[in-house]
Symmetry: C2
Subunit: 213 residues, 2 copies
């Protein structure tokens, strides 16, 4: 099997791999040891040839006439994506959304750990939220280095998202997940992903109205 | 301008339109009245021809040599998508994530209102969360009809997502936004969107490792 270091995996494939991981985790939790490609593809909402093509990145995992070993396949995918190790994250913006994410057990379950939290509100600095002290953004470069933080989460209001991004970039962060409803500008070496669930609601609303017209 | 009822808008376009709405809202908040297509496209992270093509769905909004009127364009997009009216939503699964969403002011700001909340845990039923009483899922059909609920949000643990989906479908809901990390099966007339931010984290992690290799 190739190491992730020598692979290029398209973004759309990574998106599907995240779905496969989700489905395989649920199968493992239910005690399923082996699954054949048809029900696996169906559970993932893709067709059989797509799943075989995507899984081909990771070598030969299917057992002819039997199927895939759930645990081995899960391990192969997470290893190839390099998500089978701990990723340390900083969160900036300790409001409702930030607090909800700090309380979200899925992060820890998948080894994406928020280890430092920041806010620019002097009333919040020093407060303890879910066991972590809220730090002033001035302390970010030192804490990012000290805690070996690799990913920054932005959970500020939209007006403060750009400032938060600049703080993260200046602290040496090159991977940002932005939950704030605002676009941000960063240097080209910085990788930004946006979490915005309104396009999902817009899509549901539009299709709902179109269907009933 | 065409009504949304006679339009087909591809999903990828709806996704970009949600970004344009976000950017235009931020511009309106800052007091910007007119913006030309180049800086608008740049703020949205798309190229100029893409934005002109997307906005062509809504008729002629650009003023030649001047740009787009921020407020009019925002109104035209939200009207075409039918998101300039109230959408009533039910939430099923009143755990940490459900409570965080109930507390999320962006829903209300965009007129997507959670009006009924459900759980199957007898200890939660009857509890008041952010002003709403937690109802037993048995009451769902009556409350969906009474409150004219059109969208269901699933915020249960993954093992309960399918049951929650079945409850929503049986109550007459045809539009579901699933925040639970599990795939669900629904009849073909039901529209499901998935919110899963792990594929974003996986993408950041993979690119981070690949860049440093």
């Amino acid at each position: 099997m190739d190491s992730h270091k020598s692979m290029h995996i398209p973004r759309a494939t990574i998106r599907r791999l995240a779905i496969y991981v989700q489905v395989l985790e649920n199968l493992a939790r239910e005690g399923t040891e082996i699954i054949s490609s048809i029900p696996l593809a169906e559970a993932c909402g893709v067709n059989g040839s797509q799943i075989r093509k995507d899984l081909a990145y990771f070598g030969e995992f299917g057992i002819r006439g039997v199927g895939y070993k759930v645990i081995s396949l899960l391990a192969a995918i997470t290893s190839a994506l390099d998500v089978d190790r701990e990723w340390k994250m900083a969160l900036i913006g300790v409001g409702n959304l930030g607090k909800a994410l700090l309380n979200h057990s899925d992060f820890r379950a998948r080894n994406f750990n928020i280890v430092s939290i920041f806010d620019c509100d002097p009333f919040k600095i020093g407060e303890i939220v879910h066991g972590l002290e809220v730090h002033c953004t001035k302390e970010m470069p030192a804490l990012v280095a000290e805690n070996k933080i690799e990913i920054g989460l932005i959970t500020t209001p939209p007006q403060r998202a750009q400032r938060a991004a600049t703080h993260l970039v200046n602290a040496g962060i090159t991977s940002i997940l932005n939950f704030a409803p605002a676009r941000i500008k960063v240097p080209s070496h910085v990788d930004v992903e946006y979490v915005d669930f309104f396009h999902h609601l817009y899509s549901l609303a539009f299709n709902h109205s179109a269907t009933r017209a």
